[in-house]
Amino acid sequence: MLAKRIIPCLDVTNGRVVKGVNFLELKDAGDPVEIAKRYDDQGADELTFLDITASSDNRDLILHIIEDVASQVFIPLTVGGGVRSVEDVRRLLNAGADKVSINTSAILNPQLVADAANRYGSQCIVVAIDAKRVQSNPNRWEVFTHGGRNPTGLDAIQWAEKMVALGAGELLVTSMDRDGTKIGFDNELNRAISNSVDVPIIASGGVGNLQHLVDGVEQGGADAVLAASIFHYGEFTVKQAKQFMSQQGIEVRL
């Protein structure tokens, strides 16, 4: 049967992998190509690169990194961050990305998702949704941009359905309430979105231990789980995560 995927996420800025909580106090974590190779060796099922470079001057650095990684690591690569146009999608795919993740630009210009999916196929268009629980109604989630700072007024479930209708082939769902907390995914959010769309969803935000990965699949209905810090800080290897999930009865690629 199809295995649940484990996806380490690498935040990249100015050509280096960085780590930090909520984009604050960024620390250099090393060379993206070396880290990608390490995760590949550990059995990562995919890799996600998030370009958090603020200045547009250094935007092309991610293209060189993806080119380097793609000639040495032969698993699917997703790249997100700052994707604003079909031309941006084209450049990333040509550099060796297999999928491109669109976040804020999908909100500013939903037609971008449709245009990119029509041109390159839904299989390479991921829409990233950053969602926060609505205080007055805890069974609803609102879509946010800019790391959870800017509310959009959009309902996360309806937004997910709309993105899939426009051509998203996969959704990367991040709980802004959980991101950086290490207390686990918002599995109610993930379950609600997973139940409302047919495409795979990747759960993100809040992983602090290996049981959280299991919960993401079993409770949240996620098809893939994404984590950054538990792997970056060397707490667990991807292999350990997979062995643990397998012991809990989850189908993984070992």
Binding site: M1, L2, A3, K4, R5, D40, D45, A70, S71, Q72, F74, I75, P76, L93, N94, A95, G96, A97, D98, Y120, G121, S122, Q123, C124, G169, E170, S194, N195, D198, V199, P200, I201, G221, D223, A224, R253
Partner: protein, 215 residues
């Protein structure tokens, strides 16, 4: 310069990963990504990849006048179809009611919505995306050093249903069994992406480099 392997480029999706993976396993070979029929004719071996929707793929092949070159290569030399490059070999697809190259008899069908749940009742998503096991249904030089039941990376919503079951070389389950690999004389074609399937995928490409097109 002699062309060892031509990767057919008809404007659909990303061929860089296919050529990179081939270069990785065969650094000494001349691997060309090409949309020129003459280069496809001249090459010793042909890789026919593909992404996106089948009707678009057929249209692009016609626009670039590559249909005949691909059909001819499929009858003459070691030929590896990948993903849509497998589906295009057949007569017809439910995707956009498209005609294929009709090199092999059979149909391309969508995963049936009514069947998309596992034994525990959980919904199975379409596209079928991720690592799934491939069960080898017959011996073939392309399976050299690849374990039966090895996992490969898939992304697709449609699968092939060959008319002749004798050409089936591998199957996977989602949740029903479907044909994921076919082998017919000099043609070997896979639904998964060997270029994205880590060690097992690279081994398959290595086998293609070594394969003389006979069984």
């Amino acid at each position: 310069m002699k062309i060892d392997i031509a990767v057919v480029d008809y404007g659909m999706g990303n061929l860089r990963s296919v050529s990179k993976a081939l270069e990785h396993v065969a650094p000494h070979l001349n691997i060309v990504v090409t949309d020129q029929a003459e280069q496809i004719h001249a090459a010793d071996k042909v890789v026919f990849p593909g992404q996106g929707a089948m009707p678009d793929c057929m249209r692009e092949l016609e626009l670039r006048q590559l249909k005949q070159a691909v059909i001819q290569a499929s009858k003459q030399k070691p030929f590896l179809g990948i993903c849509i490059g497998l589906q295009l070999l057949f007569e017809h697809s439910q995707e956009g009611d498209a005609q294929g190259l009709a090199i092999l008899p059979g149909q391309v069908k969508k995963f049936p919505a009514a069947r998309m749940h596992d034994a525990a009742g959980n919904k199975l998503k379409v596209p079928h995306m991720g690592w799934n096991q491939v069960y080898q249904t017959r011996q073939h030089p392309m399976w050299q050093d690849i374990e039966d039941g090895e996992r490969f990376y898939y992304v697709h919503s449609y699968y092939v249903e060959p008319q002749q079951t004798s050409i089936i070389a591998g199957v996977s389950e989602y949740p029903d069994k479907f044909t994921s690999v076919i082998a017919c004389e000099n043609i070997f074609a896979v639904q998964f992406h060997p270029e994205k399937s880590q060690h097992a995928g690279l081994q398959l490409l290595k086998n293609f480099v070594a394969w003389d097109g006979t069984i």
